[in-house]
Amino acid sequence: MARDDVWLRSLHSRAAEDVTRYALRRAPSVADAEDAVSEAFLVAWRRREVVPDPPEDILWLYGVTRNALANQSRGDRRRIRLRARLATEPAHLPGPDPPDPRVGLLREALVQLPEDAELLRLLTWERLSHGQAAEVLGTSENAVALRASRARRRLAQLMTASTAVGT
């Protein structure tokens, strides 16, 4: 398919919901999410020759959206505090009440694992495979598997320690 406006709209038709959900999950506001999604499709257009074919194109858009969200934070000094939240606590957009009180402990623990938090979110929120998450993060599948395993163990340790301190 030629990389023209019809292609872009086809990409949007297939990917918009997933990419928007990805952004909403991580952005400090709906407006920031919309900015990131807009940026992602603009970048897709400008770099249309390197956008992978389906289904990997959505993974590519996740990566661009992730960068756009990070750039929003870097580019605006007023958002310094929000950046910290973006990296550690993306759930500040109103969401459903967590059914398990341990979710709060988990979120606190994730603060201490900023590098691996995004990986775990890709695996559990976007339900990506290790290989797909590796594409988004620009790393290898083996590295993802290793990091994910290690991060889960570390999270469990941190939550246990937090529970012990709280008792």
Binding site: A2, R3, D4, D5, V6, L8, R9, S10, H12, S13, A16, E17, V19, T20, R21, L24, R25, V30, A33, E34, D35, V37, S38, E39, A40, F41, L42, W45, R46, P90, A91, H92, L93, P94, G95, P96, P98, P99, D100, R102, V103, L106, R107, L120, R121, L123, T124, W125, S149, R152, R153, L155, A156
Partner: protein
């Protein structure tokens, strides 16, 4: 993964602020695309490939986009003092830097999964209800309600918006791929007249 890993993953999933069960407002992505397209038109004109007439598959895609974009463009506006509830734009051709309307054709119209002839019986927020005179495709009820989202500041201006007015009769084609039924614009939803009704009958024959 052992049981502890599964437990952690379950907690991570439970911490999802936007789980699959939580609807994503489709107008966010529509506005985002329109903004991106606007910037493209300003900065990328030289390298933008010339528009070409899309193939049949392309027509379906474009029709779907026309319908999706209409979700943002067909706002419901209560016009104070006018004595009528009007959903959508003024009916004039609205300019759009990139998303210009696909030229109307019976072939494209025939791709619509939903099409009917109906009279607006009520307008409530972003929902417009029709008493159906005739279903061409996609339904059999006496009434049908379609989504017409409010215009939002910064929303794209589009060609071919149509204003819904209570008591008036329209030929509506629509898509339901995004959940709610959203009328297509750009001449694919029009106020009723017998000539257009003949066109629609030809489009959906059989």
């Amino acid at each position: 993964m052992d049981d502890r890993d599964h437990d952690i993953d379950a907690l991570l999933a439970a911490s999802d602020p936007w789980p699959p069960s939580r609807e994503v407002d489709p107008t966010i992505a529509v506005r985002a695309l329109a903004r991106a397209e606007k910037e493209m038109s300003m900065t990328d004109q030289a390298s933008t490939p010339p528009r070409r007439r899309p193939g049949r598959r392309g027509l379906a895609v474009v029709l779907a986009v026309v319908v999706v974009v209409a979700a943002a463009a067909l706002g419901v506006t209560r016009l104070g003092g006018e004595g009528a509830d009007v959903a959508g734009g003024s009916g004039r051709a609205l300019g759009s830097p990139f998303a210009s309307c696909l030229e109307f054709s019976v072939e494209t119209l025939a791709l619509a999964p939903i099409a009917f002839d109906g009279t607006v019986s009520s307008i409530d927020g972003g929902r417009v209800t029709f008493d159906v005179e005739r279903w061409y495709r996609g339904g059999d009820g006496d009434t049908v309600t379609v989504a017409a989202q409010s215009l939002i500041d910064g929303a794209p201006e589009l060609e071919g918006g149509v204003g819904f007015v209570e008591g008036r009769r329209y030929l509506v084609s629509a898509d339901d791929s995004t959940g709610p039924i959203v009328p297509a614009i750009c001449g694919f939803t029009v106020e009723y007249d017998e000539g257009m009704a003949d066109t629609w009958a030809r489009a959906f024959v059989g």
